[in-house]
């Protein structure tokens, strides 16, 4: 939560949180606020969710705005939709806060065009681990349902990265559904931008009383998550600190680059690590064994991970799709989240926090980071 909003509209809950959000979407489609809605929908095989751009109201019946798993990052879907420009259709994208944060980072990187997109988010209870869900979808749906209905959102079944997420509420979106701490069967719909306010006006939804109850609950939960985050980072630290530990942690890496292809921030059409330049010929590989006495395959796994850290950690939103994508269960997201937290602090930047903050690598100040250059004094005391 970056800015504390001061007003929201009260909406009464019908058919649970999901039903209420769907009802709002149906209304807005009917009134012509949007031409389409990008929303997760359960796949026909029932064991996963996919992003679907819905144009006809009846299809919304099968959609699930609060999906228990994330198979593809929402920002990736938005990139596919808008990489060639915003188009003429107004589209509402209902996504988790981490999807929205990634979309904002990508809009700064000119991969997403948010002009015609209305970003709608909600207080996110976290998502389940993909492997568990696929094993037993029905049971998982039940677990997630009871989690969502519960008074205190218990995160013991959610992904590890969701357990340490303190950005689960009110990202820089146009509209936000405040689900936490609401009483008497009603939730709040909070506009974050003028675009959002206009939609509420179009739909004729009245603003109502204060949001203190929601605010209190959110701050309480943020505190809990921050504590869990600090604890988690303490656990991650010894697994990556030191060259030997780093090698151990990534020892199982099979070099499939799934983490990179699932990552919403890794948008480069041609990644260095997939290019021909990074594939040496046999003579060169043999040369590299001369001092070592041998070399393991796949080549350059540590280089891939450290390289990716230095390339994208400033924009990492800690969404956790990299861990989901890893076939050998390396906790990639925990490690990247740990590194990203520290690198973003260097420039007092928080990925996806606002559309206004420029990317750290796009700007500079004249008088910063003077300490990174070791000073060499001349005889006359000049640097």
């Amino acid at each position: 939560m970056n800015i504390v909003p001061n007003r929201g509209a009260k909406i009464s809950v019908k058919n649970g949180f999901r039903g209420t959000i769907l009802e709002f979407l149906r209304n807005s489609l009917e009134k012509g606020c949007f031409d389409g809605i990008l929303i997760p929908m359960r796949v026909p095989a029932d064991d996963s969710y996919a992003w679907v751009l819905v144009r006809d109201k009846p299809f919304l019946d099968n959609a699930n705005p609060i999906a228990p798993i994330v198979s593809v990052q929402g920002a990736k879907a938005l990139t596919s939709l808008t990489r060639k420009g915003g188009g003429n259709f107004n589209v509402a994208a209902i996504m988790k806060p981490c999807d929205i944060r990634a979309s904002i980072e990508l809009s700064k990187l000119k991969q997403v065009n948010l002009e015609k997109i209305t970003l709608i988010s909600y207080d996110c209870p976290g998502t389940l681990e993909m492997s568990n869900y696929i094993e037993n979808p029905e049971e998982s749906e039940k677990i997630f349902g009871s989690l969502l209905d519960g008074d205190v959102w218990d995160d013991k079944f959610t992904k590890p990265i969701c357990q340490i997420c303190d950005n689960f509420s009110f990202p820089a979106c146009d509209l936000h559904f405040a689900l936490l701490g609401t009483e008497n069967g009603s939730i709040y719909l909070i506009p974050g931008t003028e675009k959002g306010e206009n939609i509420l006006d179009d739909l004729g939804i009245e603003y109502s009383e204060d949001l203190s109850n929601w605010e209190k609950k959110v701050i309480e939960l943020i505190k809990k998550k921050e504590k869990q985050k600090a604890e988690k980072f303490e656990l991650v630290k010894p697994t990556v600190e030191g060259f030997d530990n780093l090698l151990k942690t990534f020892a199982n890496c099979i070099g499939c680059h799934n983490c990179q292809s699932a990552c919403p921030i890794c948008y480069c059409r041609q990644c260095y690590f997939d290019s021909e330049v990074s594939k040496p010929n046999s003579d060169f590989i043999l040369l590299r064994t001369s001092k070592r006495g041998g070399i393991s395959f796949p080549l350059d796994r540590i280089m891939f991970h450290t390289g990716r850290m230095s390339h994208m950690s400033l924009s990492c939103v800690s969404c956790g799709v990299c861990t989901d994508a890893c076939p050998v269960s390396i906790p990639v997201a925990d490690i990247f989240s740990y590194v990203a937290d520290k690198t973003q602090r260097t420039f007092e930047y928080k990925a996806g926090n606002s559309t206004e903050e420029p990317l750290p690598m796009r700007e500079y100040r004249f008088d910063e980071l003077l300490e990174i250059k070791e000073l060499v004094k001349d005889a006359d005391g000049q640097d």
Binding site: L247, T306, M361
Partner: protein, 141 residues
């Protein structure tokens, strides 16, 4: 008899300042160790962090990045971006417990031949005190 350890320092030198500075050091017949392996780049901001990581993990004992002084970049602001990039790279190295002391950024202008020689001497001494890079003998990379 064991030979004295002479480090290998991969040096990315910008064409307009540091590389010309190195030339000047040569013309002036200034002494600096043969540990420096110069690579000419058009601007210090051309140095992708991956270049440095690659050099480090393939066994370079040190990596030197030389650019124009702040404000003097041939491309107006390239070196300010270099500074931010190196800062992040050093932060990542620090977090992973790798030896960030093996990476060095120096501003050397085209007229600073003596400074180039001094940076090379100093950095070589620093690397000598750090010893050989252990990645040189690591098989499971």
């Amino acid at each position: 008899m064991e030979r004295e350890f002479l480090p290998k320092i991969v040096s990315f030198l910008c064409k307009w300042c540091s590389y010309t500075g190195a030339d000047l050091a040569g013309i002036n017949r200034l002494q600096y160790p043969t540990s420096i392996l110069p690579i000419k780049v058009m601007c210090s901001s051309r140095v992708d962090p991956v270049f440095v990581i690659k050099a480090y993990l393939r066994g370079a004992d040190g990596v030197l990045i030389g650019g124009c002084h702040p404000g003097d970049c041939h491309y107006q602001d390239g070196n300010y971006h270099t500074r931010r990039r190196v800062a992040i790279l050093k932060r990542v190295f620090e977090l992973l417990g790798l030896e960030e002391g093996r990476i060095r950024l120096s501003w050397i202008s085209a007229s600073e031949g003596p400074k180039f020689a001094r940076v090379c001497n100093e950095f070589t001494e620093v690397i000598k005190s750090l010893g050989e890079n252990t990645t040189k003998t690591t098989i499971f990379l």
